[in-house]
Amino acid sequence: MAEEMRIVLRNYGKIDPLKIDDYIALGGYDSLNKARSMSNPDLISEVKASNLRGRGGAGFNCGMKWNFAYQAQADQKYVICNADEGEPGTYKDRLIMENDPHTLLEGMAICAYAIGATKGYIYCRGEYPSVAKTLKLAIAQAKEKGVLGDFSIEVRLGAGAYVCGEETALIESIEGKRGEPRIKPPFPPVIGLWGKPTIVNNVETFANIPVIVEKGSAWYAAIGTPSYPGTKVVTLTGDVANKTFFEVPTSTTIREVIFQFGGGIAAGKEFKAVQIGGTSGAFIPASQLDTQIGFDAMTAIGAALGSGAVFVLDESRDLIDVTARIAKFFAHESCGKCAPCREGTMRVHDLMDKINGGKGVSADIALLNKLGRVMSYSCLCGLGQAAPSPVLSTIEHFSADYNAKLM
């Protein structure tokens, strides 16, 4: 039986998040001091050896990314925390920031020391004004205590654009511009904020750092699945008995997430489908419930762990209606910079609405399949590339639902 294991939420409910002394009393900022007693390359090697991979969706090795920024020569470097958390069904970063803001600050400060940065930003989504307040208070307290040394952190508020979670769009937004993704390469660790080497990591990624520094890379690398070790905070929504959150090792299976931690399907109904990773994730059928939630296991079934959102639908749900709603989301959130996404998300939405409204024909499904595939490799950023995934996966696994709605 899988068990919960709290690393990033280790202080949840144990401290008053508005009091830095509570955090310090539990060993807070000891890891930062330990990190500062190490050489930069040693610290980076330690993070790399833990095999911590980004929790923001792309799953890149954190220490490896830091090393790029460390090796880049520049008069200024930046550390950015991605707290844009826009993926529908996701609120894990909010949980961390609301309940233990100093864990995030400490993780960022360790990164700053590792790469040689003195300035950091937390890009907090505009929908979280109270979180921004908590963060600002925590920063003021850390400054007063002097724990951050010469590292300063500023909070910037987003303004309601899902695409700003994409790291280069986020950087554009901090620069005060429209949040349109940049063409990569160059990647931010080489050319980032105001042209300087910049590390962008997710809140949950940073929250792992103090514990890795404290307990060592070997300890961390042994938790969960070896290729994507550690834990993942999972948020459950939809037709589960317990719409709640928990933190579990990455070797936990989808079935355990839904039926053990989530208490199964609400109201005694049967399971139909689950979408993992937020609204850009694939819909997964019952036959794949024994997949582990780790990054590579999910990729192997054509799905993605993404943000760790788990959206469950019971047998009574109209999957086509839900997929049409999701298609509207992408048509709305496309930034319009590149044609395959700007036009593609709109056409996918039109076709899904047509089918959902009972006016579709089988040629529309073939067209959706083709369009979706083209978008997945021709769009400029991850938004357009992932946008077709709910459509393609429902066509693959739930074709009967489509056929039932055709003219």
């Binding site: 929908e127 910037r156 429209r178 948020t235 719409k243 989301f329 709305h332």
Partner: protein, 147 residues
Amino acid sequence: MDYQEILAKYADMPGGMIEAFHAIQEELSYLPEEAIIEAAQVFGKPVAQAYGVATFYSMFSVKPRGKNVIRICESAPCHVAGAAEVVAALEKELGISMDSSTADGRFALEFTECVGQCQGTPVITINGKPYVDVSPAKISGILAEYK
């Protein structure tokens, strides 16, 4: 504070236009055309760029709107939890349809995507404050806080 004072406050913040726009909206609930033109000047950017920023982000409005901005999440988890019924109840209670404001200028009704409170779907926010597990029956009680 008028928008000139607000803009002056943020003038030295690198990339501070978005922060300044938030602050202006807190006072006026929207971004007047004059404020956008002045922002361009204060931050040393073309007006087209300032207008581009003001229209890119869904939380900014370039049209006047009601003082208390009610946003209803229509992302998939809220959608299946009954967001449509909440929309209908709000429209009925306020006597307006989505994407418009009450004649007395008190309320604006808007859709939003997920606001990150998905433990309690469906969700609405009023001036950024979340209300979770909303149902049609709860609407009039919630709105009473703002009357």
